[in-house]
Symmetry: C2
Subunit: 227 residues, 2 copies
DNA sequence: ATTTGACCCGATGTGCATTTTGGGTCAAAC
DNA sequence: GTTTGACCCAAAATGCACATCGGGTCAAAT
């Protein structure tokens, strides 16, 4: 822990600069010098905050995921139906899709991430799948998802949907892409009909699950146990 | 139309050989000489059947899609619930996923197809999206899908699912992938709950739609109007 | 005590001559 | 009448000498 580089405000400015450049040019094609220039400081100053470019990027990922969790939880809590799986999922997709870096990360975009992911944490994808399943399981226990679906299978189907949703816009011609709001709305409806228990389920119990799960996940992130 | 190369049986053997090699090495990395060797004939003989490597591949695609349509329709017709959208979709996914070449084609896998797709038909993806939407519209008219969903949006969601389903196995670790049968079963159930009209819809009417639509599509393929 | 930017050096890129590859042809063999 | 495979040639791959790039360092400036 460097004494000198203990300026969280400047660290955030550097991370902002890095994020802008990485989304635009990709991890490999963004140099430390460019990041410094974009942040308006010198190259050496970067190394007062992190010992290497990789560590800088790891910090960027951590911040990105923390921001995502925070924003997601806020939106779910503010939504009266936030505890329903469909609504939950749509909020997560929407927040995800609006953060270019995280979106590239979740869909494992090699152009943006270069060979960083492989070097840093090849098991990231596996962890995400496990998290998905635990999530469904908890929601079932809370009565927010039908009990008769298999968490692993449904987790996989949700991953298919998320993955397709994140990647399709780069492939499908714009004139065949409905407005984001329409897709999100339809997806929520879709999931609600497919997965909600008879009677609609308890939205408050669902919210409770998110609160608990995310608290645990954020703690793990801060301890560096999750990518 | 070459007189000499009018041997459909041998043409099929060559296409089989080409398919095996292309799935393994990709279009660009598969040479005409290798195809000939794999098929047990000489290079020159290939050119008795098709005027170029591109034309050979076009023929392969046509055959692949005809086979797909045939197999899909057979399975749908043989299934008592074949006319329901969920069941229909699962049969198409299952047939698709089991044909490596077609699977790579649908998910626009650049490794396998090289730059052929772009050269041959860049609008393929757009056509597929349009076809999806027409399909939903016809099923709605036949009463096999709820009338209050927007065909474009649902078509897009189905594309997300299909796309994710075809690409995920290459990314997700096997231990987090449920058995194909479980996914397919759950997907059918999923779609059924989400999209079937109240009362379950008319399965026979649904089958009728497939029969009509596919007859039209196959005709267009044979005339070379569709990729 | 901070911050800088010139400097280091392995890795990557560039330009170019040379070789190999591979789609397509066709005279000869069958 | 069919089929072959040596042959053609443009395009891509390879090898190589040389230049540049870029992550990381640290003595000097602020």
């Amino acid at each position: 822990m460097a004494e000198a580089g203990n300026n969280p405000e400047r660290a955030n400015r550097i991370l902002d600069a890095a994020a802008r450049l990485i989304v635009h040019y990709g991890f490999d094609k963004t140099t430390v010098g460019e990041i410094a220039a974009e942040a308006g400081i010198s190259k050496g100053a970067i190394y007062l905050h992190w010992p290497s470019k990789d560590e800088l990027f790891a910090a960027l990922l951590l911040r990105e995921m923390q921001d995502f969790s925070r924003e997601w939880i806020e939106r779910v809590m503010a939504d009266p139906d936030g505890g329903k799986l469909g609504v939950m999922f749509l909020h997560s997709l929407d927040v995800l899709a609006r953060r270019p870096l995280l979106r590239a990360l979740v869909s494992s975009d090699r152009r943006v991430l270069g060979d960083f992911l492989q070097r840093y944490d090849p098991s990231m994808f596996a962890r995400r799948m496990t998290l998905n399943q635990d999530f469904i399981r908890l929601l079932q226990a809370a009565g927010a998802v039908r009990a008769d679906v298999d968490p692993q299978t449904i987790g996989y189907i949700l991953a298919c949907l998320r993955y397709g949703y994140l990647l399709l816009p780069d492939l499908a011609p714009p004139e065949h892409t409905p407005p984001v709001e329409a897709i999100i709305q339809a997806l929520a409806d879709f999931l609600e009909r497919a997965l909600a228990p008879a009677g609609g389920g308890d939205s408050e119990a669902g919210k409770q699950v998110i609160r608990q799960l995310m608290a645990g996940v954020m703690q793990q992130w801060e301890q560096g146990k999750l990518a």
